[in-house]
Every structure is written in structure tokens, then in C-alpha cells.
Point group: D2
Chain length 325, copies 4
């Protein structure tokens, strides 16, 4: 579907239709908690490992600190890191340890989606229903996600990564403008421009660079968290489903184009992808260093290890994704 | 040195002597922040990736939740995970989103060394001095570690891992008893017993399984956090230095044998390894599933990606280490 | 009703009957959020102020720190206090302020019922119903208590306090044993023993000392938080209702006697008092210094200011209650 | 001293001179931890209690929630309140309690100076020296304030409050403009205008309303936290000292006028008042409802109970101050 065919007045109808076309409910059994990670099999991990040619590694994480983009929306703050013991104290003496031992220790308070993260399958619901046809209230209570908590995916997310630098291929000076809706055509054109190493298929972990983070880095966060942004068009739902990718991540706050493509809407593509497709979505990743390297050597795929921090029952999780080429 | 040669009354003397023998200060320049991670080069990462033969992956992380071992020592609690939005609320309606969208969101408060973690180079000091000869108070203030914060190692810790299952090789029913001091002899004997794939050398990430976690899993945490435990003997300092390993992790709370091998001491091996050697030490890792697999196929090395969560300025960091065979 | 008349096998029946007898639903209108605080009027505040004869003040708060009794039940930890800036850093220099200015700053993470606190009216429900006949889910979501949040009582809880030292009057060495159920007879006998200044009536804030905290202070916390304890008998429900007191607090974790007086029960008196009666219940208060003073001068009533920290939407709140005699 | 006599280029000199004139070091002995609270004696508490004529009470606290003014300066966030259990969950069932019991519970993470608060005596230092001549690093480490922690003042801060509505007396529409420096002349003129009930003397708790909060309430927070503001002039130091007040609070973020009255300065009056004078300073209080009442009845003094939450070792503390008239 093309964006210009969307009925801007009917997000609910569009969501329902896409959900029906793209549903994976029951595909991996009634008890499934992994969704599209089922596509990421051992063969794919071997394929990923074989992509390590030079041994260079990249962290795709943004910093986790108070200088992040969060401004308090729905109580999301930036991570607050405080010390339990410091080097200043150790140097001054008085920590109470013997033989000159000194220590520093620390603590963090952070929303699990404050910075670079994976959305878990319990993060978004459609009309009260969660992934695989479960009732939302049977999955995520105040005690956390007791079914699809991110710990269930602790060991899974390692395989072949592919960077689609749509910002570089389709944008201006490497960046897409805010409100730019990335369509299937843009994705396919980027793949074609980047060549064979950028092919996307079953079990891959797709990284989409829009350039939005590069802009925030240059101009300040502004409304990076929740404001206007390039991102995937609602119309990519079928492509995301049909390619059978294991996961997809962007360098933006919210994965989808913002403003969303309906008159009154909030993240409609999430509403299809997470509860119906079981797709793992990553947000706020940093692809800039990797993208520069890929552009330089013309190789766009790599071994990607993006294991979420396994906070039991989490509906999202911070991650330090590592790409190795 | 053999443990029975240690002068139990003089930890300060033993530490000073070992520090002198094992110091890496200045080895990588005055500005170095990576310590032994300098040994982990691109060749080593290629070697690690080549170990992926089957594509099976293991998470070496313990769960991050309130059921952990922490009991409040130096204000270390277990991770507290709370919800900002729930599925119950979404199912009931009233979250304020359009077109049936529902969401769950969450937050965590946790000491950075509450569960599976890396000690950063700012974690331990010797007489007020930090890694590479810096004054502790010039490195770690209440604002965090401004020099060797864990973010400096965000991309580095990926390479060849080697599991030394000392519990299986030297213990009873796969476990070493509390107070068992693992010596160089035990390490070498384990390597010999496990064979060629267990060789340890420059740039490797060494995983030492004692069985202590298996015991806690079976019997309850008890004093897992800070109490008696098997662990490395103080006398392994030179081996840790001379092998030029990049890092080492155990399945125990504190890496070293406890009680420590001096009459009045606190983690003396840390005091040599972190500030003087610049060694990365991992604690509270879970090797049980990996160890079973290694015992079954006789292959003890693997690709290991153990990228810390890059909390800016952290002196330690939670990690979800992934081993791929 | 006497405790020996309770049918231990039917808590639900007893609760339903007591709830019917003691309900205040609608008494102050459909929109009421204050419950029994409606009894605490301006005349009562004048009466309280008139009790200030010497000008001596007592804090009835326990310390808020890591040495508290919490052990993690339902994710309740002790308060964790960490520093954002320290005197050590200020003394060493480098905080970045001009003209010799130095500062210290701090942060706390704490369950709102970790230490001395008031239960808000959104803290407990009966069969999904909250105070004044509202549905629990319409009152308290993951966004907090949007109706009866503790901030609605921010200015109210100041008036006449009365200490009933049941431990001293009925116990051994000033303490009631664990499992001791305080009945109406015990309360009335204590009042009689203490004299006129101990009378209890409409709008009063009643403080019941059991001695449980004194014991914990002497012997260690043990199972202070949630374990066996003296406390109010379920059979006091009607007295609590008929006296028209504004609030009641104890020096125990849970106000009620524990084990509870039914075979399979959890805090049945709460289930009557909070949702049906709208009664404000305080827990973990420290009456020891005040009690010693009252015993010495024979005056058991005082001005009490027990204003909760007005965390918006809180279902409980920490408080530093101040008694002035 | 008049503000126009200040040498804007020499804050250090002005601070040193004022510190010498206004020092209370040693006044209450070498071990003192209460500073000016020593002025607040039992007679003053009786005087305060006698001011309760009508029995009406006012909370002077701002809300503690995410809608506050904090923007992250020095890691100060707004309070983050999250739920451990909710009414939605209780209504749906599944909390695991018997006989229809349901519960809600909650937790807060907050900087202790996020909202209405007292500065403790360990909050500010002068050239590395804390209150009463102690070295800052001997008082406040990463373990908190081990000497003058706010818990030492837990029972003290209750007595006679006096509201000086400088905004109403000297401002426009009840508000002083940002940058307005309140001098001794303004304070005295306000007292004179308000009459006998506004007299200020030894042991009083002085409340200064500037109208800054009223403006923020009307126009949005803007830079309320740390930006331009009316406030006390540096030149009031001697008045604050000579009046022998026990404490003083304002409706602003930082008590002092901002920008400060020197070319390059940060809160110079704090640097005199806290470490040298031992003065308790309150910030971010809300006087608007109380001020309206005082203006209506012409009575400006009242019983004030402003007991800080006794977080052990805190250098500042949240408070819900209660004024009773």
C-alpha cells in the first residue's frame, strides 16, 4: 500500500486490516513468547558470525545519562546515575576498609526505554490484546510482564545484522527530514543502492538509519523524544511481515514516522507489529559510526549481538548492541 | 606463589609486592582507559567469531530482579522493577490513547553491581590510587567516573571466551566448597583436563565456573552476596598478569576466595588487579547451561559478546553476556 | 464482638458483616476523598493546640534508611539514599562553583510504605471496590491514585493526638507479645488506666503503642515487617467506627494482630477500615520517647501534626509525625 | 549594607566579610548540629501554639510529582512515582490475596530538593568548611551527612511562623519581578505594613512570599528552577543573623535573588548562611493560600509545623509544612 492511499480519518480501520494480513498469532504455538525471534535460527547465527572479516566492533548504544533526550513524557526521565562510594572518599580515607583498599560503587534509576532499547512483546496492545492473542491484563500487571518479559529473549538476539542507511541513500546530507515516511520503495531502493550485502530476509536484524540522531547530535535534542521525526511508514507493515525479519531498529525515538500518518493517531504501526506480528522493535540506536564504516568499505551486513538486559518481567529493555565486521 | 607461603598477617605487604610485579601502569600510555582490554584486538575477535560452529547461543546473565542475592551491604539492593503503564490498565481502558492503542512501560532502580556485571576500572583503588597511576579523587567523584567510566569500554568486550570449569574438574559433584582457593595449579590442571580448546592466552576472556551459583540455586542464596565462597586465590595475581588475558569472570559474588587469605583483609586480589593491572573482572555470571554444553561436546571456547550497559561514568555495569558456539 | 466468637474459617463472611455495620459510604457525599478525616474539624484543631503546655516536641518517625525492617516483600525495600554531590568532593575542589562555594545534594528511592507512613484511602480494596463505593480500577492505575491520592489529605492531619500505651497497660515490661490481639476491652482498660487525658472521641488521632518496636529495637528487626506481631483485633472494627476517630496509628508493621485471626487471611481489618470506613491508618510509628514522657507526667493527649508528604497520587505516604505537649 | 554598595567584582571578599560578622561557630558548643534551631525553644513553641485561634490549617507544600519545575540541573529530576500494585490489578483479580482483599502500593524516586524542602546544614560549604567549623569531607561523604544529617532536626522545626508577603507589600499585583533583590528595608517595610502580628524575632520561622510561584503557576515553570527570580539580597545576611530567627523559607527555587548580585557568583548568601550562621533555609514553599488568608484577616503569624522527612544523613529534606491559624 502507498501512503497516499491511506484513509487519514480511519486509523482503526487501517490497523485492523493490517493486523489481519500480518498476524502471526498461533504461528509458533499457543505458548510462544518469542514472536519473530523464532525466525532467527542457528543457521542465521552461523551466517552472522561468518561476516566477521576484520574483527572491528561498534557499539550501537547511545550514552545512558542525564544528557539524554527524555523530557518526562509518561514519566520517562533520563537515566539518573548516583554513587554509593567514590574515589574522593577513598582517597581521603574513612571508607572503613583495611590495607589501603578503596572502592567506588554506583546505582542507576532509569526508565527501561530511556535510551537505546528493545521493545518487548508486552510493550504495546491492540484493543486490550497482547502478542499471540493473550489478554493484556493477563500478561502485564503492576508486577511486570509475567509471560513475555524480556528475559525470555535474553539469549536470542544475536545473528546477522543489516544496515539500511536510508538517510544516506534517500536523504539530504545523509539525513531524512522530520515527517519523512519511509516506504517499502525507499527500503528497496536503499537495498538496491547498497548492493548484495544489504539484502534482507528471514531471520535478519534490520537496522534503519534515518539520520535523525545525527541531526539531534548536531542541533540538540529538541523534540527527539516524541516530536516530529522521520520513520517507517504505516504502509511498511506487510513488508515487515513478509520479509520474515527477526527484528528491526532505528536511530529515532519511536521507529515510526511522526507525525503519524493519520489525523488522530498514536504509533499505529506499533499496534500492528508488536501485538499481532510479534516483531521486535529497537529504538534510539546509534548507527553513525557503523554507517560511516559501511559506506567506506561497501559492506552493509555484520554480526550483531543485541542482547537485552534481562530485567525480569520488563516490557522493554536497555541494550548495548554490538556490531562486528 | 603458593597460598601456604602467604603471610596471613601482612596483606598490605603482599599486595604491594604483587602490585609491583603485576603493574601495567603506563603500558598503554598515560591516557589509557582500557587496561587489559588493550590485549583484545581485532585478530582475537576474528578468532572468536570463527568459533561459531553450530550457532547456538547462551545468555550468561542471572535474572535482574528482587529474587536476587543482595541483602543491603553498602546499600546494594536487588533490582526493583516497577511499571509506568500496564496491560491491566490498557485492557480496562482509560490510558488516553486513540484507536485502541494500549501500552505498558517500566522503570528500574538498581545498583550497577546488583547482578551479573563487569567491574569498571574505577571500582577499586589502592591507597587512594586508581588505574594507571591516577589519584582516585581525580577519577571518581559523586559525579561518577569521569575518566574510566564503563562507557569507554562499550564496544570492546567481544572476542574469544574460554570456560574453565574448575568446579567440574576439581570439585565434588561439579562444585568447589566455600573457602576453596583456586590456585594457578587448579587453573592449569583444569585447562589440561579440558584440552586444547581450553587454552588461555593473550586477549582471551576467561570464564571460571566454581559451582557456587549452582549451589545457591539449589540451596537458596544464603550469604552468596559477600559470604564464604570459592574463588581465585590471591596467588593467581601473576598468572592473571602474565597470561595477558583481557578479562575474567566468575559465577561468584566477589571473584576472590572468601574468606580472603589474610587474617584481616577485604578483597586483596581486586586491589592488585583493578588499579594496578587494569584487569576487567566479571562477577555473578551464570555458566551452568554453557558448562553443560561444553562438557557434552568437549569444546570449551566460544565467541563471547559481553558488552556492558554504557551508563556514563559507571564504575561497574550490568551485562547480559552472550556466548555463541 | 469478642475474638473467641469469630468463625476462623470464614473471614469473607466476617468482613462482609463488619463492612456493612461500619460503612461510611456516602456519609460525606459521593465525591468525598477524605473519609474519617472529615471528623477532624477546626474545633478539634483548637483543642489540639490548647494541649501545648510545655512546648516540648517529639518526632514519632522511625529513621528512613537502609537499616530498616524491609526485606523485599512485594518489592518493598528500605529507603536507599545516595548522593549527587558530597562534602568530600567540595573539600577536594573541582565541583565547578566560583568563590569557594561547595555543595552537597542527594536523592532517595523508597517505597512509600517503607517506614513511618499513612495508608491512603487507595491502599486497600474489598472485592475490587475502593473507598466510598468506587471501583478500584477507576481509582488507582499505574498512573497512581487519581481520586484519593494522599495529596488530598495534605493539610488535614493536624489535631488532637491521644496515646494509648496498651503495651504498658496490658503487657509485660511494656510490651505485648506477638500474636496478642488488642480488643475493645484492652483499649477501654488502657484508657481507664491512663485517665481523663486518654479519652478518645470524634476527630481524634489515636496512637496505639504495643511495644513491638521497642522489642525490635532491642532484639533486631527479625520479621518485624510482615511477621508475627501484636496488633488490633478484627473485633475492634465497630469501636473504630463508632468512636468516630479521624485516624489511628501503631508502632507495628501492619496495624492488625498477626497472625491474623482467621485460618487463611490477610489483613482483614484493613479490608473493612480502608475501603468501607474511610479510616486513615498509620504504621511503623515510633512512640517510645513520647510514651516515656506521657507516663512521667500522666498526660496522654497532645497536639499532633502528622502531615503526609504529598506525593501526587500516592496510596500511602511517608510522614514525620510531630507531637507537641 | 545596601546592594548598591556591593563590589560586584569581589564576591569572595564580600562573603568572607559577611561570614566573619555573622558566624555562629562555637556558639552552641563544638558538637552542635542544630545551628539556628537552637533559637527555637519551648517557650517559642508555646507562643506558636497560642496562635491557633480558628483551627484552620494550610499545607505549604508544592505537589511532589513529574509536573514540577526540575529540568535536570545537577541530576535533579522531578519526583517519579510508580506503582508496585494497582487498583486495576485488584479489580481484575490475580493479586494472590484471599477473601477479596486487594491492595495498591507505590514507590518514589526523588532528589531530596526536588520540591518543597529544607536545606540541611550539610548542604553548602565555604572553601571546604561546613557548619560549626568542620571540614566538609568529614561531614558529607557518599554515605551521606554523618554529622548534621537532617534526622538531627526531626523533632525541632515546630513553632511560631510569620509570613512576610513582600510580593504583596512591595510588588506589582502581588508579585516581585525576577531579579528583584529583597533588602532589609523591604523586609522591615513589609513588617511595618503588615502590623504587630508580623514582628520577627528570636526563634521565629520566617516565610517570605515573593510571588514567584504564583507567576510560575500562571505562566508555566519556565526557568523557575535555577533561572531569574526575586529573592533575598546578599545584604540581608546581617539581618538574618541579628534577628536570631530559627529558619527562613521562600516560594522560590533558591532563596536568594537571581541573578546573584555579583558578576560571577553562585548563591553567595547560602555560603554565608548555611556553613557560618547555621541557618535553616526552606525553598519552593507555597504560601499563596496562606497569604490570602492572612491578608483577609490581618493576622500574619501562626503555628508552623515543618518537620522534615528524616532521611538519615540527608543534606536536604522534603517537607509538608503545615500552618495552623
Amino acid at each position: 500500500m502507498r501512503p497516499d492511499k491511506l484513509d487519514r480519518t480511519d486509523p482503526a480501520g487501517a490497523i485492523a486490516a493490517a493486523a489481519q494480513r500480518c498476524s502471526n498469532w498461533g504461528r509458533w504455538g499457543a505458548d510462544d513468547v518469542l514472536g519473530t525471534l523464532n525466525f532467527l535460527d542457528e543457521a542465521k547465527r552461523r551466517e552472522g558470525a561468518a561476516l566477521v572479516r576484520r574483527g572491528v566492533s561498534f557499539s550501537l548504544a547511545q550514552p545512558f545519562d542525564m544528557d539524554g533526550p527524555q523530557k518526562g513524557w509518561r514519566r520517562r526521565t533520563n537515566p539518573v546515575h548516583t554513587m554509593l562510594d567514590t574515589g574522593t572518599d577513598a582517597e581521603r580515607g574513612g571508607q572503613g576498609f583495611p590495607h589501603g583498599f578503596g572502592g567506588a560503587d554506583d546505582v542507576v534509576f532509569m526508565p527501561l526505554q530511556a535510551s537505546t532499547q528493545w521493545d518487548g512483546l508486552g510493550h504495546v496492545f491492540d484493543h486490550g490484546m497482547a502478542w499471540n492473542g493473550r489478554r493484556a491484563g493477563a500478561v502485564v500487571t503492576a508486577a511486570g510482564d509475567r509471560v513475555t518479559g524480556i528475559e525470555t529473549a535474553a539469549a536470542s538476539i544475536v545473528g546477522r545484522g543489516v544496515l539500511l542507511d536510508v538517510g544516506r541513500a534517500m536523504g539530504t546530507d545523509g539525513e531524512l527530514s522530520d515527517g519523512f515516511a519511509i516506504t517499502v520503495e525507499h527500503l528497496e531502493a536503499t537495498i538496491a543502492a547498497q548492493g548484495e550485502s544489504a539484502r534482507v530476509g528471514r531471520g535478519d536484524l534490520v537496522c534503519v538509519r534515518t539520520g535523525r540522531l545525527s541531526r539531534a547530535r548536531r542541533e540538540g535534542w529538541g523534540d527527539y523524544a516524541g516530536g516530529d521525526s522521520p520513520g517507517l511508514s504505516f504502509t511498511t507493515a506487510d513488508w515487515l511481515h513478509d520479509t520474515e525479519i527477526a527484528g528491526i531498529a532505528t536511530d529515532t525515538w519511536g521507529f515510526e514516522v511522526r507525525p503519524n500518518e493519520f489525523d488522530d493517531a498514536f504509533q499505529p504501526l506499533h499496534q500492528v507489529c508488536i501485538p499481532h506480528m510479534g516483531l521486535f522493535i529497537g529504538e534510539m540506536w546509534d548507527f553513525d559510526a557503523l554507517a560511516a564504516d559501511c559506506a567506506a568499505d561497501g559492506v552493509w551486513d555484520f554480526f550483531l549481538c543485541a542482547a537485552p538486559l534481562p530485567v525480569t518481567g520488563a516490557v522493554g529493555a536497555p541494550v548495548n548492541p554490538i556490531a562486528v565486521k
